[in-house]
């Protein structure tokens, strides 16, 4: 008998599968469940972008591209970063096109982390950072972002967590699941804490295009911070292109050179069809972003306003497309609240602890649904809390 347990890497074995899998298996087995759980845009990729992908296939563009991504695409990414966020990156040496933002996160961690290094992680956050960092042997130190502080990373929390072993800070703003953003002033305070350290910043800006009220400021755009920042971004959220699997990193060339090696050996190159589509997105997609942002904004207002009127303490998200109400105010634990809501009213929302311990007591509601869908689900949530 083969002993898999002995063969498989103990760290990978110790990674927990998403803690809410059971919960959603239950949801999938039920009829007429209204889900508010999906973390991807409901919009289809705009037609002209899809058409560009189709055209590339019709023209037989089915080969590998350059490892780092097509020259043309890297050029467009460089122009886009300048135009939208005032970032300057050389397309030839400082941009790597990846398979989604996820790969960009993975190769950045692998390029920097030695076993024993500490990774500072602002939390609640997307689920991939911790396991990927642990696979590199990192010790993950979480930096709780509290509702009292609008789920922002405070410079005091950061400062208190820094040790001589601190290697890399993950800054995931605009944030999934809280919808928090960091303004320029708030980022400057973070920069002030970091400026005399040797800590690198992985700034995951995948939701950069989806902010309401404040324009997104990239951490790399702050004075002195470019040299210590790896920007991660991609096409999934801004252009509703999740299934195309296309992201990128922008980093100083000394870093990008190493990232490019990891990418080259693990992936070869990002999908060619998606790269052609992405060129079109960057050239002619600004109006699409504008339109989708407007839709998300209206939905966000509807969800926040309705939840507040029901009595949920609810932070008003300023970015991404999630609402993160405090649900333990109704006397049930977060997990029980979500479980009962699912059982009684067949509405699935994601318990906050799926996004780290700091998310406990909250739940994530996704606004990537039609207004009618949201309104129906909110009606059921209201019916549920009346029974509590």
């Amino acid at each position: 008998m083969i002993d898999y347990q002995k063969l498989l890497n103990p760290t990978v074995q110790s990674l927990k599968p998403s803690g809410i899998r059971k919960f959603f298996d239950l949801a999938e087995a039920m009829d007429d469940v209204i889900s508010l759980g999906v973390g991807e845009p409901d919009f289809q990729t705009p037609w002209h972008i899809r058409q560009a992908g189709i055209n590339s296939l019709q023209q037989g563009k089915t080969k590998y591209t350059a490892n780092k991504g097509m020259t043309e695409l890297r050029g467009e990414i460089s122009k886009y970063l300048k135009r939208r966020f005032d970032l300057t990156y050389d397309p030839d040496t400082e941009v790597v096109v990846t398979v989604g933002g996820s790969e960009a996160i993975d190769i950045t961690l692998r390029a920097f982390i030695n076993p024993g290094d500490e990774v500072l992680l602002a939390e609640p956050c997307f689920v991939c950072y911790e396991p990927l960092a642990r696979m590199c042997g990192a010790k993950v130190v979480t930096l709780p972002c509290k509702m009292e502080n609008n789920f922002k990373l405070s410079p005091e929390t950061l400062k208190a967590a820094i040790t001589p072993k601190s290697k890399l800070l993950i800054l995931p703003f605009p944030n999934n699941p809280t919808g928090a953003i960091m303004t320029e002033d708030e980022l400057k305070q973070i920069a002030e804490v970091l400026k005399d350290t040797n800590i690198i910043v992985l700034s995951d800006e995948i939701y950069a295009e989806l902010t309401y009220g404040h324009k997104h400021v990239s951490f790399a755009a702050l004075p002195g911070m470019r040299e210590r920042t790896v920007v991660v971004n991609g096409f999934s959220k801004a252009f509703a292109m999740t299934g195309w699997r296309l992201g990128y990193t922008a980093a100083p060339k000394e870093i990008a050179l190493q990232l490019a090696k990891l990418h080259q050996f693990a992936i070869m190159c990002a999908p060619t069809t998606a790269q052609y589509a992405a060129i079109e997105a960057l050239r002619n997609g600004d109006a699409d972003i504008e339109d989708m942002r407007g839709q998300y904004d209206m939905r966000r207002r509807l969800v926040v306003g309705t939840l507040r009127s029901m009595g949920f303490p609810c932070f008003e998200p300023e970015g991404a497309f999630y609402v993160f109400p405090k649900i333990d105010a109704f006397g049930l634990s977060g997990e029980d609240f979500c479980g009962e809501l699912l059982k009684q009213q067949h509405v699935a929302i994601v318990p906050g602890e799926a996004f780290g311990e700091s998310g406990r007591g909250f739940a994530r509601i996704s606004c990537s649904y039609s207004i009618s869908h949201l309104a129906t689900a909110l009606g059921r949530i209201e019916a549920f809390i009346k029974t509590l």
């Binding site: 409901d42 289809q44 926040v304 309705t306 994601v350």
Partner: protein, 161 residues
């Protein structure tokens, strides 16, 4: 806010004033006033459900009829348009470019009723010189609503965090 209210209502006429106010960031009073204004001006012409009558089990037939019309002195096409509009089985009437002058859509119980409509009511109008009738075989999309089961519906998205 104005255009937002209109497009929101066009997508879902059952949204409440409170919901519209939340979404547009206006007060409920301001939204209600705006809707009243639009209704008074005839910008909002009505609210109704979009119904898939076939699913509801109703037997009916829909037809598009193109007609050639002799414009009337002083009144152009409007006099005949008014006569056609007044017929209850007519759903829409347009003045159009091309080889025909007007297009109308109508619904009726069966083929015979459509034939009767064309021969006994439409053709006898003095200004109508010829007609061309097309029957609907299958409705795929109407008033922006798709009648085929949408394979890309959002419920089929995977739960991804």
């Amino acid at each position: 806010m104005a255009m937002n209210i209109l497009s929101l209502l066009e997508q879902n006429a059952r949204l409440t004033v409170a919901q519209l106010a939340l979404m547009t960031g206006e007060t409920e009073d301001a939204v209600a006033k705006k809707i009243d204004e639009y209704t008074a001006k005839g910008v909002i012409c009505g609210y109704r459900a979009v119904i898939d009558w076939e699913k509801a089990g109703k037997e009916f037939i829909q037809a598009f009829i193109r007609i050639k019309v002799t414009p009337q002195p002083d009144q152009g096409f409007e006099a005949v348009a008014r006569q056609i509009m007044a017929m209850p089985e007519v759903d829409s009437v347009y003045l159009v470019s091309g080889s025909y002058d007007m297009t109308l859509s109508m619904s009726a119980k069966n083929l015979r009723d459509v034939a009767h409509f064309v021969s006994a009511r439409l053709s006898p109008l003095g200004a109508v010189t010829s007609t061309d009738t097309t029957f609907v075989l299958q409705r795929y999309k109407e008033s922006s609503v798709c009648f085929l089961t949408d394979s890309d519906s959002e419920e089929k998205r995977e739960v991804i965090l």
